[in-house]
Amino acid sequence: MDNPSFLLLLVEVPEAVEFELNVWYDVEHIPEMLGVAGVRTAKRYASQGDRPRYLAWYDIDSPEILYTEQALSVRPQDSRSTAWSQSMRTKMEASRRGVYETLATASPGTDAGVPGALFVAGFESEAAPDDEFATWFRTDFQQRLARVDGVIQARWSRLHPRARPPAEPPGTFLLSVELLNGDTIASAQAFFSGLGIPPDLRPGFHGKYLSHAPCAVLTPADGASQAEAFASRLRTVGIRVPLDDARRIHALHLNVERAARRLERPADMLSESMNGFHLPLPTQAHDADA
């Protein structure tokens, strides 16, 4: 049986584009990715300073599912992807990407739950003694890890040999540690230096990331059930739309809800209403000025 596989994406965008990137991920790209056969989960993280700032993690059945027509057509660099995706592609700077297979996992067993934070570190090694590193990971590393609070699971992975070689992977080898929350490690640097890395491994990219709402962990079932739930709600007011529409309408509906929460409201609406409050019809507002 195959080792578990995942796709890791790191992107940086200019500050002015961050909001759009997040809306694009949440409204369009994550639902699209969850629609790809063989994608099991989607998780998003954002760093508090490490670069690239945004990280997306997809658990996948195998590297091959990324090369189906369906999967290729939602990649922002593909001409069949949406205009929004293609436009986002032009705004991304410093993207890193890699498809990995997990060689070993370690769970101290003290904590479980949805990860609130993620530490990732990439490594290179001229020699490629996979077994030796995996042994280190299962022994010395795991002992050190057991002394850290809030660890859910750690993985030792390497670039998947059956995946197309990426242009700029985070590392040939990848250490990832899922944590309950970001408080667990005061600084990524301190955490990193306490890991007892074997000298044959040359550290490269590393960073500490916090889970990025609203899609902390989404599975295809979650995406579909949210859309289905909203489609049902629309049916209660007599509107019948396809699931794709319901997903889009739901996202817009959440925007209006956010706008409503931003409205200024009097602390005591009832008292204010007693003192000359009138429902402001537009003409009334204007006659006062006229």
Binding site: A16, E20, D245, V256, A260, L263, T283, H286, D289
Partner: protein, 470 residues
């Protein structure tokens, strides 16, 4: 200069002096529409026979000495939300594909009474809400300055047609910036009058308490001429105001001397960030006002986000109320984008809508108090020139919000005028905002700005057309 490059004012003087005939002018524009509009998609319906009949009638009237005024014999277009008697009015939607009104919109009649000649009905966003859509019976209009770019929000056909010389003026509607955005991105003057000054009766509504009808033309002066024809009280428009009709031709003899102008700098430097070219064009525009004698100082308004929250809740509520029954009956007739945006208002709570109206009234009062210290506010119209046609960035990114929606919430007059060009050859725009019902002054200030600058001599080259059609 060619005939289609004439401003309304210039064409009007020639027509009045019988040096240009309405028939010749109308024939020229119809032929031009035939030649090039297949590349711009600005018209949904061209009313050829009617236009020629009216042109002949106008020519005969003028020959008899019956010149009616500056719009007599001037070919114009109407956004396809304006109902036109016996002429299909679609709102750019399959929902209204066969909709032939029995009556004119009040504005359509007013323009007809002034002698204007209707060339046809212009493209829009579906029901003014749908965004650039490719799943409707008609394609979206494109920007004549560069067809890969957005002509600008829902009065897109109006902006494209006037910029390309396919009409000398056009009517748009502005609910969240839809007159000012296409004016900005197509390099025109576009004016959103004070709420209540121009009747909306007979115009397919979008958000009745935020909808405004406004003119779009090559110059501010042309907008003044159109406002003269269309402003007025309408007892049957529930938003119409009973106010004296302004004199839109009045011009202050001493420029802007003694006028106080507030620069809403935090909007375009802190909240939504204007690009460097827009910033330079805006500073140059402010310098022009200063040279005309205005006293300039920075002013702070409530955040754009506070206005946008109010506008969002009101828009979604009112638009859904209008479309609820049709969404239930024939949802498939809408394009996907309009359907989603309209249905998004299905679950706005009534108390949120009431709070939005209450906030709006408080904002109107606060703005009136602020404007005791100012005669005019100035800021860019949009943070950047036209984006690519399908780029949704300006729609979702608050750092790139357009500077329009606060003034729909407030109902005050707002003018977008061309303030220069980007290095890529796209128009930039500045916005002037005034007190409620001080429309004549806002337009006068805009006209003075336009006469002191030289941005009206450059037209779109249309060099993307397959042959030399321009």
């Amino acid at each position: 200069m060619q005939m289609h490059d004439l401003t309304i004012a210039a064409a009007s003087a020639l027509i009045r002096d019988r040096r240009l005939g309405p028939v010749e002018l109308t024939e020229h524009l119809l032929a031009r529409i035939d030649r090039i509009d297949g590349h711009l998609h600005s018209y949904i319906t061209v009313t050829r026979e009617l236009a020629m009949a009216r042109a002949r009638q106008a020519e005969a009237e003028i020959a008899r000495g019956g010149w009616k005024g500056p719009l007599h014999g001037i070919p114009i277009g109407l956004k396809d939300l304006y109902c036109t008697k016996n002429i299909r009015t679609t709102a750019h939607s399959a929902v209204l594909e066969d909709h032939v009104p029995a009556e004119n919109a009040v504005v359509a009649s007013a323009l007809e009474d002034a002698g204007a000649i209707l060339l046809g009905k212009l493209a829009t966003w579906e029901f003014a809400i749908g965004g650039t859509s490719h799943d409707l019976p008609w394609p979206p209009a494109v920007n004549p300055w560069n067809p890969a770019h957005d002509p600008g929000y829902s009065s897109s056909g109006s902006g494209a047609a006037v910029a390309a010389g396919l009409a000398l003026g056009a009517m748009g509607t502005d609910t969240g910036g839809s007159v000012r955005t296409p004016a900005a991105w197509c390099g025109l003057a576009g004016f959103k009058p004070t709420y209540g000054l121009v009747s909306r009766r007979g115009v397919v509504p979008f958000v009745p308490s935020l909808d405004h009808c406004g003119p779009m033309a090559w110059t501010v002066e042309d907008c003044q001429l159109m406002m003269d024809a269309i402003a007025g009280h309408d007892a049957l428009d529930p938003g119409s105001a009973r106010v004296p009709r302004p004199d839109f031709q009045s011009t202050a003899r001493d420029g802007l001397r003694g006028r106080r102008v507030g620069v809403v700098r935090h909007y375009f430097e802190e909240e939504s960030i204007a690009g460097p070219e827009t910033l330079v064009a805006t500073e140059n525009g402010i310098a022009v006002l200063r040279e005309r004698g205005a006293a300039i100082e920075d002013v702070r308004m409530p955040s754009m986000a506070s206005y946008v929250a109010v506008a969002d809740v009101i828009s979604r509520s009112e638009a859904f109320a209008l479309h609820e029954a049709t969404l239930q009956k024939t949802p498939e007739k809408y394009g996907a984008s309009a359907r989603a945006r309209l249905a998004a208002g299905a679950f706005v709570r009534a108390s949120d809508y009431i709070q939005a109206l209450r906030s709006r009234a408080a904002m109107v009062r606060a703005f009136a108090a602020l404007m005791e210290r100012f005669d005019l506010l100035v800021l860019p119209s949009t943070p950047d020139p036209a984006p690519l046609l399908d780029d949704p960035v300006h729609f979702v990114n608050p750092k790139k919000w357009l500077f329009h929606r606060p003034f729909n919430v407030l109902g005050v007059p707002a003018l977008s005028a061309c303030s220069g060009f980007s290095a890529t050859g796209l128009p930039l725009a500045i916005q002037f905002v005034g007190k409620a019902f001080d429309d004549a002054f806002v337009l006068d200030a805009g006209r003075q700005f336009e006469q002191e600058t030289d941005f009206r001599s450059r037209r779109p080259s249309l060099d993307f057309l397959p042959e030399a059609l321009g």
